[in-house]
């Protein structure tokens, strides 16, 4: 039982790292909290659902399609909202409210066009086989999700540390003003980073069926709060730290479900409050933000 919980916790944790990483990337680059993050995860899930049921497209191929869709969506959203917001009196607070409005719009559009129903891609998409580690059997879909999550983390790492755009992104994360002065096209790089954040959210959405169950239009808010808990646990503004946050969250939720199941839905909220009050810089972060 204990071994099973630990192993499942690690697999869940890596998936939840994927759920949170996009939010953290956007926060790191723009110092804005994308309160519609959960809704972009939902959009990813619905995209995967329709691709699967209309055209029989496998979720793994849906990743490529969602990259294209959310790249354009992200760039469009960035240029519509962000430059104007950055000029306002209190961008941090106003963006918070604005993205909330966006999340309402997305949710309403999905309900109006597809109805307020649960949708699912069957986990048999990847076959019925199981795999076993240390004598514990898990569905094959969990293995695939774990591998996808690890590959995504490697890709994000490679982007940050081995591409020119990634260097520029990290420069903006360190100081937006100084990057502007040193000739970086801040808006273009930020827009691209915003798109990557949305793409990461949509990938988490594509695989949500196998890890957190059916998708429904109002699933976003809850996922946003969970993602926020994860990135605060890891380190705000440090995307790679999200992996640590995800692992802690995954293990904690698995242990709660195994040993104290009736209270497990309280966990993300309590973790979030506790970490903000007692270690607001996150478990591995340095920046402190308090009033």
């Amino acid at each position: 039982m204990f071994e099973y919980t630990v192993l499942a916790g690690i697999m869940y944790g890596l998936y939840f790292g994927l759920v949170g990483i996009g939010l953290n990337l956007i926060f790191g680059v723009m110092r804005m909290i994308n309160l519609a993050h959960g809704d972009f995860i939902m959009l990813g899930a619905f995209l995967a659902y329709w691709l699967f049921h209309l055209f029989g497209i496998n979720p793994l191929i849906a990743i490529a399609i969602s990259c294209v869709v959310f790249l354009f969506l992200g760039i469009a959203f960035y240029y519509i909202f962000v430059p104007r917001l950055l000029q306002s009196k209190d961008p941090e607070m106003l963006s918070f409210i604005l993205f909330f409005g966006l999340s309402q719009v997305i949710e309403a559009i999905i309900i109006l066009s597809f109805g307020n129903n649960q949708r699912s891609v069957p986990s048999s998409t990847f076959g019925h086989s199981t795999f076993s580690i240390l004598g514990n059997r898990f569905p094959i879909s969990w293995l695939i999700v774990t591998i996808v999550a690890i590959l995504v983390f490697i890709a994000v790492y490679w982007y940050f540390y081995h591409t020119k755009l990634g260097y520029a992104t990290r420069a903006i994360m360190a100081s937006r003003d100084e990057s502007l002065v040193s000739g970086i096209n801040v808006n273009r790089v930020s827009a691209f980073a915003f798109s990557i954040g949305l793409i990461l959210a949509s990938i988490a959405g594509i695989f949500s069926f196998f890890m957190i169950g059916a998708a429904y239009p109002s699933m976003g808010t809850n996922l946003t709060v969970i993602s926020f808990a994860i990135i605060v646990l890891g380190a705000l503004g440090n995307p790679m730290g999200t992996i640590i946050g995800g692992l802690i969250y995954g293990l904690a939720i698995m242990f709660m479900q195994t040993y104290l199941s009736s209270w497990s839905n309280l966990l993300p909220y309590l973790l979030l409050i506790a970490i903000m009050l007692f270690k607001p810089e996150g478990l591995i972060g340095k920046t402190v933000r308090s009033a």
Partner: protein, 306 residues
């Protein structure tokens, strides 16, 4: 100051008279009750958001805490309704004290932590393990003391109280010190303002108003579920009402709630999805083009808005 105070009192008096006499000519009492409820909540939120800049995204936590404190006082202690309403306010105030440490977070961090706190409260109240105390997810029934007229006029009293609190904050030195803290808390503290104390008072008053409103709501509807009184939508609706009108004034949240709640009543109940869509678009447009609310149009022309 005095002149401004008298002018604002006039507005409060007019609102009170309207809600006293309107039920005799307009028979949709539940619409009027909810209107008063949302004005009171928007004014309560205004106390903390308008004057200190802290956005309480989990404001509904106080509302729910008030509803449940009052209900438990009625069901277990058999208190009379009016005393129980007060207990509701006190319960929310207590939750406010417990959540006081959140005030050391800034900006969006405070908002998110407060949201998490209200959700945590919801999951605690709705937990089936606590069925013997809170009735868990099965909700509360106060049918034995159901009295729409008495609760209507109690809500009116709470509404007047909330507006008077905002009036006094707006026209007193205490309000000025809050605004100073909002602008720059370090400078304010150098100028001799007790920052922590001032914030705590505003926070407590804000929680108290929400608790009283929640308690009145519980009495008025008399049957409700934890999901009803802890619904995140209440926080959101109230924030948008206050923002739409313009925070930091008495008139702003009042105008916002009057216009938007009427609008909600017009289309929101029959077609909630379209309402949600329009609402979201309204939020985006407001933030981008009119971040200080509609009363700011007057303020920009140097007209004093009470």
């Amino acid at each position: 100051m005095l002149k401004k105070r008298i002018g604002s009192f006039g507005i409060i008096l007019i609102i009170a008279l309207i809600f006293i006499f309107l039920p005799f000519v307009y028979n949709n009492q539940s619409f009027l009750f909810n209107m008063m409820l949302y004005i009171a909540l928007a004014e309560g939120l205004n106390i903390i958001y308008g004057f200190t800049g802290y956005l309480p995204f989990g404001y509904v936590g106080f509302f729910g805490a008030g509803a449940y404190s009052a209900s438990l006082a009625i069901l277990f202690l058999h208190f009379p309704p009016l005393l129980s309403i007060f207990i509701g306010g006190a319960g929310a105030f207590l939750v406010g004290i417990i959540l006081m440490p959140l005030l050391k977070l800034s900006g969006a961090y405070f908002a998110i932590a407060n949201l998490a706190a209200s959700q945590a409260l919801y999951y605690i109240v709705a937990n089936p393990n606590l069925e013997s105390i809170t009735h868990g997810p099965y909700g509360i029934s106060l049918a034995s003391i159901y009295n729409p007229h008495a609760s209507y006029y109690t809500m009116l009293a709470v509404l007047v109280l909330s507006m008077i609190i905002v009036l006094f904050i707006r026209t007193s030195n205490f309000g000025l010190s809050l605004l100073a803290i909002k602008e720059d808390h370090i400078t304010a503290s150098l100028a001799g303002v007790n920052v922590a104390k001032a914030r705590a008072i505003a926070w407590g008053l804000s929680a108290f108003v929400a608790g009283l409103s929640g308690a009145c709501f519980a009495w008025y509807v008399s049957v409700f579920y934890p999901g009803t009184v802890f619904s995140l939508n209440i926080s959101v609706i109230v924030i948008v009402f206050a923002l739409f009108g313009g925070i930091g004034t008495i008139a702003g949240p009042l105008v916002g709630a009057l216009i938007l709640y009427s609008f909600y009543n017009f289309i929101g109940i029959s077609a909630p999805e379209y309402f949600q869509l329009l609402y979201g678009i309204l939020i985006i447009v407001l933030v981008l083009f009119l971040p200080d609310g509609i009363t700011s149009i007057l303020q920009k022309r140097k007209i004093y808005v009470p």
